[in-house]
């Protein structure tokens, strides 16, 4: 099992009030699954996404990622897990504006100490895989929205992570470009990658093999398609 969530709870304190963002989530995701997490705003899907991405830790419960328990890890270990195991794709791309596409893709490799000789090759390979082999020296502002998201996907792929975690990846793109990105995910999935997609668009979720619907911090429905 790649991901095992057991009795995950997440509380936030807003002043004196406690918000239960997640109430007892139990969830298993296997290798090479293509999962969509859906739900209205306030359902807890962002919180779940942050937990799955190791950007945050749960208040209660255990999270096993690829066999290791990450629930009680400290910041530094979580940073290493994010670097090795998780590739993020964000709605607003989150690329470094002044760095070239190549450098943006190299960034995760910098933080695990890959020497620059290997780094360029790996980053170029990832960019070629997403169809941007000819745009490597372009800066984000010289690229279209679709191309920027491809750079972000290449960055997510470059370290061969266990999961690709995409948060509304088509939210800032027009329909046609969005479809191209979804096709790209399809290809990655076919190539053996595990993909978790957070979205509120039904037609985007339909690209996945399994849809998990959240409401008020609970899993309301979990259906394979």
């Amino acid at each position: 099992m790649m991901i095992e969530l057991k009795d995950i709870k997440k509380d936030y304190h807003l002043g004196l009030e406690t918000v239960h963002a997640l109430r007892s989530i139990n969830l298993n995701i296997d290798e090479n699954e293509y999962v969509a997490i859906m739900g209205p705003s306030g359902s807890g899907k962002s919180t779940l996404m942050n937990l799955l991405g190791c950007l945050d830790t749960a208040t209660e419960g255990t999270y096993c990622l690829n066999g290791s328990d990450v629930s009680d890890m400290n910041d530094d270990n979580l940073a290493e897990i994010r670097n090795r195991e998780i590739g993020f794709v964000f709605q607003n791309f989150n690329l470094l504006p002044r760095a070239s596409a190549l450098h943006n893709v190299e960034l995760p490799l910098i933080y695990n100490g890959t020497p620059s000789s290997q780094r360029h090759g790996l980053a170029a390979e990832a960019l070629t895989k997403v169809g941007l082999g000819d745009r490597m020296q372009h800066r984000p502002n010289e690229l279209s929205g679709g191309q920027r998201q491809r750079v972000a996907v290449a960055r997510a792929l470059v370290n061969n992570p266990s999961i690709i975690l995409a948060d509304e990846p088509t939210g800032n793109l027009d329909t046609r470009t969005g479809d191209e990105i979804m096709d790209l995910f399809e290809t990655l999935h076919d190539g053996g990658n595990t993909i978790i997609l957070v979205t509120h668009e039904e037609y985007i979720a339909e690209h996945s093999d399994r849809i998990i619907r959240l409401r008020d911090g609970h899993i309301e429905r979990d259906e394979a398609r």
Partner: protein
């Protein structure tokens, strides 16, 4: 493994730091201005002081390792301290004669007197008041390392007969006798007429000024015109460098006897050697140095606050970048290092400019004025270290602040 990671990241951090500075040229420059001015001033002051010091040391060493002086006042007394020594008995020609007679370790004794800001005239020509009149005996020249260029020095006879004869330095020759042979000519020094009998070889610039501004006349003539109610300096040359100590002891013994200093009392006169002169001069420049350091410390404090301020602004602007870096695997320590390096780079870069401008300026001053300058290598090295320290001290807080950001909040920051 850890080491290799660090090396990879260090390179990345340096690249980022340079990129940020390049992308905010104006902002970086203004921030650096404080560091630049601070470092520039300290380097400028130090190079001038060191240049000055070197020339003074050379000058003092030219006195000779076997020469010392007897004077009424200690080296380097301020005006109010002077009163303390005023009541000492004057040092007289008699003392010089006694030293000559009773000190076997002494080779030559030359009593001398000085008068400053002297104007010299010859026909319709006239010097500036930057000249100095000395009264001496024939050994005055040897004891002060003055060599006769043309003509002759004054003799014992000149001294005995209080003749109005003068030996003049190169500056005065140049000013009064551009096209003539000065020997045998009649000049007017401070309103009195003298015959030029010799010239002193060019000495060049020392003490940051010319040494060739001397008019030497017999001591007897000097006392005749300027009064005997004064304390003389006695220049004493020991028989050899090895005899310096002995010669000084003998001179002290003779002078204490003549001046009737009771046993147990301290000397009521001073022995000046090149060592005491150098240390006195170093004491003097130390005050200037310390003053400069205090002022520069304040400048660097202000500069450091400027760096801290701009780093805080930069971190706020780049909140999302920090979030991105954290999301893809930067540890808190990585973020901290990144911003610390940026602050150090800013500061050291300012230091570099400051050093260049400071050295350049002092060299310019040295070219345009008689003030000498040296390149203060140690201060330059120190300047770098201090700038790096300023970067670290004032970069720590912003860097820590950046590293403590919550990645989720940082990613959402607009």
């Amino acid at each position: 493994m850890r080491l290799r990671e660090s090396a990879v990241q260090l390179k990345e951090n340096v690249v980022i730091a340079l990129d940020v500075i390049r992308n905010h040229k104006m902002r970086s420059f203004l921030t650096l201005l404080g560091v630049i001015i601070g470092v520039m001033s300290i380097i400028g002051v130090q190079s001038l002081i060191e240049g000055f010091q070197k020339s003074i040391h050379d000058q003092i060493e030219q006195l000779g390792a076997n020469v010392f002086q007897v004077q009424k006042y200690p080296v380097n007394v301020g005006h109010h301290d002077r009163d303390k020594y005023r009541n000492r008995k004057d040092i007289t020609w008699e003392h010089a004669r006694a030293i000559e007679k009773y000190c076997p370790a002494v080779e030559r004794v030359a009593p001398e007197a000085w008068h400053f800001e002297i104007v010299i005239k010859y026909r319709d020509r006239k010097t500036s008041p930057a000249n100095v009149l000395a009264g001496g005996t024939p050994d005055f020249f040897a004891n002060n390392s003055y060599y006769i260029d043309e003509g002759r020095a004054f003799s014992e006879v000149d001294v005995q007969q209080k003749r109005d004869v003068a030996v003049i330095g190169k500056d005065i020759v140049d000013a009064l006798f551009p096209f003539e042979d000065p020997i045998g000519k009649s000049i007017i020094v401070d309103g009195r007429r003298y015959e030029v009998i010799g010239t002193i070889e060019e000495l060049g610039r020392r003490f940051g000024g010319s040494e060739d501004n001397k008019v030497a006349i017999p001591l007897s003539t000097f006392l005749k015109y300027y009064g005997t109610n004064r304390s003389l300096n006695i220049t004493v040359q020991a028989a050899s460098v090895d005899m310096m100590e002995t010669a000084q002891e003998q001179v002290i013994g003779v002078l204490r006897a003549i001046r009737k200093v009771p046993p147990g009392e301290p000397n009521d006169f001073e022995i000046w050697t090149s060592d005491t002169l150098i240390s006195a001069f170093n004491d003097m420049t130390r005050v200037v140095r310390i003053g400069a350091i205090v002022i520069v410390s304040f400048a660097l404090l202000v500069a450091g606050i400027g760096i801290m301020n701009i780093m805080l602004v930069s971190i706020r602007e780049r909140t999302r970048e920090i979030g991105i870096r954290m999301a893809i695997g930067a540890r808190r320590a990585d973020i901290r290092l990144q911003f610390l390096i940026e602050a150090i780079f800013l500061s050291v870069m300012g230091g570099l400019f400051g050093i260049l401008i400071g050295v350049g300026l002092s060299q310019l001053i040295a070219l345009a004025t008689p003030v000498p300058a040296a390149i203060p290598y140690f201060t330059i090295f120190l300047g770098f270290i201090v700038c790096a320290a300023v970067g670290i001290i004032f970069g720590v807080y912003p860097a820590a602040k950046a590293s403590k950001m919550d990645p989720i909040t940082a990613l959402r920051y607009e």
